[in-house]
Symmetry: C2
């Protein structure tokens, strides 16, 4: 089975558990809406790519961990889109969860997705429980306080924002969680994989800032120009378009340099380059080619 | 160290981790506000009582698990109090989290508390990883979908609500999580401890309904009469005050009957009776004595 199919299957298994008999039907629908149809699934793809590079001796655990990273990403999107944050009417080309199901079910769907993520990791690790403490720790650090995505979002509520902390938490943390948990799922030491995730997270943030300036709302499935409208820091505004593309190239090169010695390093390197082209706006990918 | 001190210390350790260097200060303050000063800490006390009854061979794990149950309870209170749900201005005698810190930090504090709960369990189980999959599973089921407290809250968004499902999820689930995870923390089979938790949860719900009718807002630290105002089901309205007290006695007796055979069964029984008197409104406890 290819990577995309494995990720979708692991996500479908988790979401189906959430809809089990006795579940309030509205919440089940809101959770499904938050997860399907998906976006680019960049984080779980990265997680599986690292697990593969480390030998992936327990593919069902790696699939579960990759799914949990995506569930946490979906949870953060649902809560970020809420009226009290970005008040985003659309996401991935469809109404945002609160627009479709109301604010209450959007809060609860985000909560349920966080819980589901941890449960998914634990189910995946039932056969190798000795890997679970490290996995839970890695995933928690990526998403919680002091420096996970929830902390990243909370920096938007502060008047004085250390930009590096903000960006590392808001985007870098879950990318680092993806690479580190991918390694841990395969029984490898997660620490050496942090830098790869952080650099790719930063590269993705630059690409995302660029898409917010030059992207096509139809291609993105969400409105553009939001960073400027909401006064958020943006590489595209600070460095310009050409400067941002150069920054992106430097970050991706640095990411590839940081790949720890492992059986599948060369394949992982090729995969990262292909993914980078994939998450640039089409117009810029043509220019950069 | 007595039980109260152990619980407060385990909670303080978790909250202090959330405030570590690099954490956005507002979020750290909101998390602390959500956890301290505490309420009756009934769920973690129950969790520790069951761990003790099962031999409690790893007290630091039991303390961590008890703290995680309380962190999840605090998370649910923060989100339940939000303007889109109960819009509660006060909680535990102080402003609710969104009243003190704004809606955005209240959403994020709830999210962070959920993550912190799972991280706390995993840290506690670092020395006995083989207990961790069952613990994560037990805690997830208590709080998530299809039948945990998040699902319980989501039933309030449905037009047709099966009352038993609603009450079991809204209150019973986390009590069952407390008894089951207490057993699992001590290496015992959690399943046989479910009924005790569910019955005590139901008893607590009856007591809580009574307090909403006859309680003193100063003693409770929150307004009374909310169930009637919000049109929520209430034992006190359905059965009357005398009928509710009788129902409570039946439930507590049934709970005690359900205690599985274990080294500390007699002590646990005495403890449950003492706690029951503790969570009745003072006026009714005098009448029931």
């Amino acid at each position: 089975m290819d990577v995309t199919a494995r990720i979708e299957q692991a996500l479908a298994a988790a979401v189906t558990r959430a809809e089990a008999l006795g579940s309030p039907p509205g919440l089940g629908r809101a959770i499904r809406h938050a997860v399907f149809p998906g976006g680019a699934r960049i984080r779980p793809r990265l997680c599986l790519a690292v697990a593969e590079a480390c030998g992936n001796d327990d593919p069902s655990l790696a699939d579960a961990v990759a799914a949990s990273i995506e569930l946490l990403h979906c949870a953060s999107l649902v809560h970020d889109d809420l009226p009290c944050f970005d008040d985003a009417p659309t996401r991935r080309g469809q109404p945002s969860v609160h627009a479709a199901f109301g604010e209450r079910l959007a809060v609860l769907a985000g909560d349920a997705l966080i819980v589901l993520a941890f449960e998914t990791v634990a189910r995946g690790a039932a056969g190798v429980p000795q890997r679970l403490p490290e996995l839970i720790h890695t995933v928690s650090r990526a998403v919680g306080v002091p420096s996970g995505i929830v902390a990243g979002q909370a920096w938007e509520c502060e008047t004085r924002v250390p930009l590096a902390n903000y960006q590392r938490a808001k985007t870098g943390a879950l990318f680092a969680g993806a690479t580190m948990s991918g390694a841990a799922a395969a029984g490898a030491e997660p620490g050496p994989w942090r830098v790869l995730g952080e650099r790719l997270g930063e590269a993705y943030q630059v690409a995302d800032d660029l898409r917010d300036v030059v992207g096509d709302p139809k291609e993105l499935g969400k409105p553009v120009g939001r960073d400027a409208a909401l006064g958020r820091p943006s590489a595209a505004h600070e460095l310009g378009i050409a400067g941002s593309i150069r920054r992106l190239e430097v970050l991706v090169a640095g990411a590839i340099e940081s790949i720890p010695a492992c059986p599948g390093a060369a394949e992982l390197c090729g995969l990262i380059l292909a993914e980078t082209r994939r998450f640039l706006p089409k117009e810029l990918a043509r220019r950069a080619a």
